[in-house]
Point group: C2
Amino acid sequence: MTNKYNNVYVENTSTIAGVTEGEGPLKKYFTYLCKDNYEEEKTFELAEANMLQRSVNNSIKDTKPELFLSGDLLNQLMPSNLVAKKLGVPYLGMYSACATSVESLIVASNFIDSGKFKSVLCSNSSHNCTAEKQFRYPNEYGGPKPIYSTHTSTGATSIILSNKKSPIKITSSTIGRVIDMGITDAFNMGAVMAPAAADTIYNHLTNLRQKPDYYDLILTGDLGIYGKEMLIDYMNKEYNLDIKKNYNDCGVMLYDLKTQQVNAGGSGPVCAPLVVYSYVMNKLKSGELKKVLICATGSLHSTTLVNQKISLPSIAHAISLETV
Amino acid sequence: MTNKYNNVYVENTSTIAGVTEGEGPLKKYFTYLCKDNYEEEKTFELAEANMLQRSVNNSIKDTKPELFLSGDLLNQLMPSNLVAKKLGVPYLGMYSACATSVESLIVASNFIDSGKFKSVLCSNSSHNCTAEKQFRYPNEYGGPKPIYSTHTSTGATSIILSNKKSPIKITSSTIGRVIDMGITDAFNMGAVMAPAAADTIYNHLTNLRQKPDYYDLILTGDLGIYGKEMLIDYMNKEYNLDIKKNYNDCGVMLYDLKTQQVNAGGSGPVCAPLVVYSYVMNKLKSGELKKVLICATGSLHSTTLVNQKISLPSIAHAISLETV
């Protein structure tokens, strides 16, 4: 389902980067670099909520937004709920795993474009120590991970969308369908999510009668280096579309994969927006990029699903950012 | 945040009731009564997904809806994700705990009223055996529960909202804020959620300049008998509003509290829509009710939050159903 928008602009963004993310190649674009994994809190979960709160505070300029849309990886969205409590504005919890950022942007864009809301704050967080503990085992356990696994990124991001004109506009979006290729290995997220990304990118381009080269840059959320190659192959073979020359993956861009120990790259709900709300916004503002398609990717699994040996459903949502 | 709608109608609903729910006073209004807790599946989680799938199948008449909004209580929305996979239409995961049904209705109403979507399917499920296992302890353990605790309802519900005229219209909605009164007892959900319900009902009525008697019936989602009394007191003392004569709670209506062992009443995302999409829709169609305000209530806690002894955040979202 692809929608077009006439009246939705990016008002402000804020990016809080974890320690590893703040040591990566995009360091200079982030709003704030965390000192450690705790940020002066007693638990990793409260540290994640602290980062999310900081991103919210940094993104709000004068008046509070009319609505808060937020999501993260923790069971029942613990960090989002705690931040919504402090913020005190109407709140809706969002969940599309690591595609949650774009789910929120799509809901916000529809709400603003219809004239029902003037400004909506969309936030996301993930924390390597909370996610690994919840989905796999605590990092302190030191379990080995395969090289094709991705590293859950640490940090928090916020963006305020508004009906007030600004240099960057949200022009269209495509809500994804759930795709399941029968993979049960929860380390192999790139392979799980690449077909969902392909389905959504293909539908987006087809519905809008666009070619891949309409965009200066097509970005997926967190496929990692192997998933990125799979998507390029898949788009070629399934849809006869060549995306290679203007395509990249946020999970690959967020780290220096040669020197940083993140295996195939980054993942987590914060991975895509950490790259988009910092580096990509900067390049859109400077005019180096004019049209960017963001396709955030999510693996919709839980420990229960993995333990019951059910194959992993995945989803991808896309949104188009263009300079005015 | 209160919105009004001109163009959003209820096309169809479907209610799948668990065993205890199907033995309650609303038995004759449900679409399907489950035979047992398994519904021929191997696990309780797959049974919940099975019920959700049945509610979806029963609600779709001819053509598939353009969008699927769904949410449940299980970590990472496992049943919703599995059903979204089979359905194959664009999907957004929703989470407001036991207020998720109304969150979905609000998002769908905004999407349809703006003209961007023609038909949206909103679904919810909960299952006593999956929720108790995840949030407290498996039922097989036989742990005692205090009399003020509520019973997570079993079942699944679906509703199709559409821009095609029908006898029942969605006229307005209010998105709630997170309220936290400092309670840390995860059994005492009625007390946790009553102030959130009060805040949302008060804001809804105030924003629309309505009195409580505008509605034939005001319903909360799952406060239970004690939470219901608290809300009546709270509305009186805090806002000087008397709701007693036209107010009830779905968690109280779903069971015969004298003979069924559910302590203070029902809870869970399916509790409110099991009552609203069956009994209330029936009374709206027959003309016995003309204007109903549904205020679904949710306790936004997780086991991590409870174990870390953080007080329980709660939320309530309201939607207004009126006969055309």
